[in-house]
């Protein structure tokens, strides 16, 4: 599975931990960088902070970003998981994390992430993308250049086109 970070291929040392379907307790390794779900973070917070290795949290589309707003300093990574690329909730969550709660660290899209979603994801504040199995990372890298301009406010261009035009004097 390829990882794109800051528009380059990057190595991925993070382990995304997910509770088994049978409900068995999650085994968190003593060391290494781990990404845990929001319920796991809430349940095992003390242990996660005391172990060696960094911790990050992965959110689903149904999670409330407000729930981690006061914990951001503990995280080295936040991921938003797309169960299915047509589920667009993660785009709003990403903007909230960036624009409302001030998350400046890595924001990674994981799950059903493919080339033709990357441009909008990047505009909503994602800077890392764990491509789903089978995606060609070289083809995916071209996605960021699909459009050269955008009308709206977004994380990557906080001012909408009309304000940028106004300040550039190109009315």
């Amino acid at each position: 599975m390829a990882l794109i970070k800051d528009r380059k291929l990057a190595a991925d040392n993070w382990q995304l931990l997910e509770a088994a379907a049978d409900g068995a307790a999650l085994a968190i390794p003593d060391s290494g960088d781990v990404l845990v779900s929001l319920p796991e973070w809430k349940a095992s917070r003390e242990w996660l902070l005391s172990r060696s290795g960094r911790v990050g949290v992965w959110l689903t589309g149904a999670d409330e970003p407000a729930d981690i707003a006061s914990d951001l300093a503990h995280f080295a990574l936040i991921a938003i998981r797309f169960a299915n690329f047509a589920d667009g909730r993660g785009y709003s969550i990403a903007r909230l994390l960036r624009e409302r709660y001030g998350w400046r660290g890595e924001l990674r899209a994981v799950g059903d992430v493919q080339r033709d979603q990357l441009y909008y994801l990047a505009r909503c504040g994602f800077d890392a993308f764990a491509l789903r199995e089978g995606e060609d990372p070289q083809v995916a890298l071209t996605a960021f250049n699909d459009f050269s301009e955008a009308y709206q406010t977004s994380v990557d261009r906080p001012n909408p086109l009309f304000r940028r035009r106004e300040s550039a004097g190109t009315l």
């Binding site: 441009y119 909008y120 050269s148 406010t153 909408p160 009309f162």
Partner: protein, 565 residues
């Protein structure tokens, strides 16, 4: 007509390149059908019953003649020489080949057109009052706001994967001709006591499986805050709208679940965070957009043209057409003219390439090179001198576009239905034709007076049957095509949803049934001024039911029949 600037143009060009590459990857097998589907849908491309269908955006219904000629050319070159104007002011081509679609989009881009977001679970083409800018009852000209919304919604990164499609309509007049109450968001541009422009905002209206009239959640959003307010609505919907059931995914279900007041509170809470932020509109931006609109340079004319008055007196056929198809204009001496796409025997809303070119010629000669598409699936010349009306009528006759039935029973709104659409339960075009044939006596049609008859081939309601005074819905009855009739629906300020009359009937029975309804109406109306819809509102469904389903009804119906015997 809004004229693109360099950036507007670059964005649609880049969209063409993007879709060309996506189509290439799909055809080469590196993009699966499932992955390609949302991408093609956001470029208006459906895979239909017999062929793909391409839906081309006509933003807020405005077309320049060079654009209409390009559409005619595209229909002729890549399709079968005709197109279908839809109830959402779009143009649909029914037979394009998938591999040609990138080329079609490139041709559209050359005339500042596109098919962006005409389908898929995103913000769709913005629709508006087709009399925008010319209506005598207009309070605010909505066109500039529509273009601002077009730009804002185009490639909005946060709202491309909503729970379901999202439709916004804008009206700026007293009368609502944009059906804003049955849209996901309806915007009514108004002025406050200080004369400042703002918007009354309605949410959660819609047709389809669960038809519902929307609720106003804000009586006055000052114009600078329009975009942030809409973003707040969309964000609440994107996050909390249902995604587990396609039939419950529209915003109307969320608004109902939360109650309109509860939903409004959530929107207000979200808005509080972004209100006043960078998306707040500026007067220089509004002026910039307004300046990019070409506007007709009207002559100063008498309020009533004497040659027009003379022609009305001389030619009764012309007068009948003018009464139905000519509409008042805010500028003295001018009028708007509907060119009917509802000729009997032609599927409602269809126009051939030749007709499109001829209409373009008419618009060049008489209406400043512009025209509009109405949500009743007709074409409108919006800025015509009254003194030219007689000539226009003569030319429209020669083109088969002069059916004098606007607002009448034969001005049927119909979706493409089972002849084209893979979702259909039943055909709609032959039903429309059968009704038009039944009511082919124009004097009889005029006697019946104002009547909206709308037909949808399935619950998706593209033919807006819920808001027809008479609505016809295609249903599936053990594999056979049947039709469910409802009455009492209406669009406009007094919008209402039709009620089902009784058991559905076969295609052959529809014209008889409609005629029975009309007979009840003609018997029961108190004067010619009382329209069909007024009578339904006054006397209710029962008298209509009794007449249609007679013997099957209760003792009350029988009693009346005995008394009459």
């Amino acid at each position: 007509m809004y004229i693109y600037d360099e950036i507007d143009q670059r964005l649609v060009d880049e969209r063409v390149a993007q879709f060309r590459d996506q189509t290439r990857r799909f055809l080469a097998g590196s993009l699966s059908e499932d992955d390609f589907r949302p991408l093609r849908l956001q470029n208006g491309l459906y895979i239909q019953r017999y062929a793909p269908m391409l839906r081309i955006a006509i933003p807020y219904g405005m077309l320049a003649t060079r654009q209409l000629r390009a559409l005619a050319h595209i229909a002729r070159t890549y399709d079968r020489g005709y197109g279908h104007f839809s109830t959402r002011q779009n143009l649909q081509l029914n037979w394009p080949a998938l591999e040609n679609v990138p080329e079609i989009l490139a041709e559209l881009a050359k005339v500042q057109m596109h098919a962006i977001q005409t389908s898929g679970n995103c913000i769709r083409n913005i629709t508006a009052d087709h009399f925008a800018g010319i209506a005598p009852d207009e309070i605010v000209d909505p066109l500039v706001w529509c273009e601002i919304l077009r730009q804002w919604s185009t490639f909005h990164p946060e709202f491309a994967y909503l729970p379901r499609k999202f439709k916004i309509a804008v009206s700026g007049a007293t009368e609502d001709r944009a059906a804003i109450q049955v849209h996901d968001i309806g915007l009514q541009a108004v002025r406050n006591d200080e004369g400042e422009i703002g918007f009354r905002v309605l949410v959660g209206g819609g047709l389809g499986r669960t038809p519902i009239i929307g609720a106003f959640i804000n009586e006055f959003v000052p114009w600078p805050h329009l975009l942030t307010y809409l973003e707040a609505i969309l964000r609440v919907y994107n996050r909390y709208g249902r995604r587990d059931n396609k039939f419950k995914a529209r915003i109307k279900i969320l608004v109902k679940d939360r109650t309109p007041a509860g939903f409004r509170d959530e929107v207000e809470a979200e808005w509080a965070h972004i209100k006043g932020g960078p998306a707040t509109l500026t007067s220089s931006e509004v002026e910039r957009i307004a300046k990019r609109f070409t506007r007709p340079t009207y002559e100063s004319l008498d309020a009533l043209s004497s040659s027009y008055v003379l022609a009305l007196g001389r030619d009764t056929k012309f007068a009948a057409w003018a009464r139905r198809n000519v509409h008042p204009h805010r500028v003295p001496g001018y009028a708007a003219v509907t060119l009917s796409l509802k000729k009997t025997g032609v599927p409602p809303g269809d126009a051939t390439s030749e007709q499109m070119e001829a209409v373009a010629d008419l618009a060049d000669a008489y209406s400043f090179g512009e025209l509009r598409v109405t949500h009743e699936q007709n074409l409108l010349l919006a800025d015509v001198r009254q003194s030219d009306l007689y000539t226009i009528w003569q030319q429209a006759q020669a083109l088969g576009l002069s059916t004098a039935n606007i607002g009448m029973i034969t001005n049927i709104i119909a979706c493409p239905g089972g002849d084209f659409c893979s979702l259909a339960n039943a055909k709609s075009i032959p039903v429309a034709e059968a009704i038009q044939r039944r009511f082919d006596d124009i004097d009889y049609v005029y006697d019946i007076g104002e009547l909206d008859l709308n037909i949808s081939g399935c619950m998706n309601s593209c033919g807006h049957h819920h808001v027809g005074h008479i609505g016809i819905l295609g249903v599936d009855k053990q594999g056979a095509e049947f039709y469910q009739i409802s009455i009492g629906g209406a669009q406009g300020v007094q919008a209402s949803l039709g009620k089902v009359l009784g058991p559905s009937v076969s295609q052959d029975e529809v014209p008889d049934l409609i005629e029975k309804l009309i007979n009840v109406y003609l018997e029961r109306r108190e004067s010619e001024a009382e329209r069909f819809i007024d009578v339904v509102r006054r006397i209710g469904l029962e008298p209509f039911k009794e007449n249609v389903y007679g013997a099957h009804q209760g003792s009350k119906a029988r009693g009346r029949q005995l008394a009459a015997a």
